[in-house]
């Protein structure tokens, strides 16, 4: 595992050649999300990552104000950048969970989980 980026709200690590691990921590603001979102896009593009494990297990509180950005702006750019599979571990915090549910796009690229291991297994099984 190689640490690629760290900030008070996110740690980004490379798990394998194709899997990027984004571990979000604590309360999130629209600024922290857009800033970290831009970093992820850049890393995905540069490293040609096809799979992302997006872990919200340690996120606390709602981030509803950043939902439109995530759903309508960030995900389309990620897909344009080569994203094929996105495993999203939702937070046990109800407010973070509800925000994530709202920001989850329809289709087959994103799948939600409540467990890191299950999410990783799903990603590994994908071609």
């Amino acid at each position: 595992m190689e640490l690629l980026h760290t900030s008070p709200t996110i740690e980004i690590t490379q798990i394998s050649n194709h899997i990027l691990y984004c571990n979000w921590v604590g309360p999130q603001t629209p600024e922290s999300i857009t800033k970290a979102g831009a970093t992820i896009i850049q890393i995905v593009r540069e490293g040609n990552f096809k799979k992302v494990l997006n872990d919200n297990a340690r996120v606390t509180g709602p981030w509803n104000t950043a939902v439109p950005y995530t759903l309508n702006h960030w995900f389309p750019i990620m897909i344009d950048s080569g994203l094929k599979h996105f495993a999203w571990v939702y937070s046990p915090n109800i407010f973070a969970d509800l925000s994530a549910r709202r920001a989850t796009p329809t289709g087959n690229i994103v799948k939600s989980f409540y467990n890191y291991q299950e999410a990783l297994s799903w990603l590994i099984a994908k071609p």
Partner: protein, 407 residues
């Protein structure tokens, strides 16, 4: 402390209240309209899941564990409701989404907890402990909930035409509850639940206030809810006395008035287990006893020689003497009407005619108040006496039939 022998079903809800709401405040988070809508939906899903889990879990427990399981969850719901006050007393009316929205979140959690408590109470009434004493915080919350628009409730009762005294009697338990909470506190779940239910039912009456007889509707409601305050009992008896006064001077009319109220009383179904003050007798019993005593008093004073309809060849003042008391005679005719032996439809006329034509006997011991009380306390004495007369009639017919056969 021993570990419970059962599953705790409220963990997810507890996490929301104890952890998520706390973090929400620490993080200085805010919500908006759609998040509130989603939150409501999520709470609904979670409470439905809890209900389903409880229904499934309880099947696997033995009876004594079931009781423990239900009362443990009953207490847990109350404890979580109290915990909500950590974030400020939740507003019992839907607050607006100003500031962070914490008030609105607490409000929806409060509704979810009430829904669960009501589910446990109604679904598992056998195991539910209605006499559980409630913590002061819970009572403050309930008091706040009951106080919401309490003044409006009073004004609205007056506005739909409820007499001032009557409205005051209805409102009295709510006011008493408020005073009790500001002083020593201490009341049971069943009492707070009763008041909440009464308030809801009164609001329904107010909503439909423009249609029908409001006073009659309220009496039916209060009788059905066993509203057994001394003030209401006195109000009812005064009301009946006023009606009796209109019929004063005519015993049969007075009996008719009493019969009418007796009929009303017996035709209103009383909600099982409902009682305003469990330390007092049920309203039904109080009124039933009062009506019986009043009826007996009038019956005892009916003059023996009432005017008899003129019939050719019959001596004036002639009456058929019956070996029954007036009550037994009334019941005897009631049986004949109910079984179709008497076809007259006008019961009022029939009652008057019976009183004029038949002379009932009044045994000496009937004047003894103890014996009277015993006889009227329940209808069994009357029923048994009438039954004995009818059995004697049948025995006579049977014997007569046997005699004829032998001839």
């Amino acid at each position: 402390m021993s570990t419970p022998k059962f599953k705790y079903e409220l963990q997810e809800l507890e996490n929301i209240i104890v952890i998520d709401l706390s973090t929400f405040i620490e993080d200085e988070s805010r919500v908006d309209d759609w998040l509130i809508d989603d939150f409501k939906e999520a709470l609904k899903r979670k409470t439905e899941k809890i209900k389903m889990n409880m229904q499934q879990s309880i099947i696997g427990y033995k009876d004594d564990t079931r009781e423990e399981y239900i009362q443990y969850h009953q207490q847990a719901i109350i404890r979580l409701t109290v915990y909500l006050t950590t974030y400020g007393v939740p507003n019992p009316a839907p607050p607006s989404i100003n500031n962070s929205g914490i008030e609105l979140l607490s409000y929806h959690i409060l509704l979810a907890l009430e829904d669960l408590l009501s589910f446990v109470e109604t679904r598992y009434a056998r195991y539910f402990d209605p006499d559980t004493w409630l913590p002061q915080n819970y009572l403050s919350l309930t008091a706040a909930e009951l106080h919401t628009e309490l003044d409006n409730l009073h004004l609205n009762l007056l506005a739909i035409g409820v007499e001032r005294d009557f409205a005051g009697i209805i409102m009295q338990p709510f006011w008493k509850f408020a005073v009790a909470q500001s002083n020593s506190g201490g009341t049971t779940y069943s009492h707070t639940s009763y008041l909440k239910h009464l308030k809801l039912e009164l609001e329904k009456v107010i909503k439909n206030g423009a249609t029908g007889n409001v006073t009659k509707t309220l009496h039916i409601l209060l009788n059905g809810l066993n509203f057994n305050s001394p003030e209401y009992f006195t109000y009812c008896t005064k009301f009946i006395q006023q009606e009796l006064k209109k019929a004063e001077g005519n015993d049969t009319d007075e009996l008719y008035v009493l019969s009418r109220f007796y009929k009303y009383l017996h035709q209103v179904p009383v909600q099982l287990g409902a009682v305003l003050d469990p330390s007092r007798p049920a309203l039904f019993d109080l009124l039933d006893e009062w009506l019986r005593a009043e009826r007996e008093y009038i019956e005892m004073n009916i003059p023996a020689a009432m005017a008899v309809p003129s019939v050719q060849g019959v001596t004036a003042g002639f009456k058929i003497l019956m070996a029954m008391t007036i009550t037994q005679l009334s019941y005897f005719f009631h049986v004949l009407v109910q079984t179709g032996a008497i076809l007259n439809k006008n019961k009022s006329m029939l009652t008057r005619f019976t009183a004029v034509i038949f002379q009932a006997t009044t045994k000496d011991k009937m004047s003894d108040s103890n014996a009277r009380k015993k006889l009227y306390a329940k209808n069994d004495g009357v029923r048994q006496a009438v039954r004995a007369v009818l059995v004697r009639c049948i025995q006579y017919i049977d014997a007569d039939t046997g005699e004829n056969d032998r001839k």
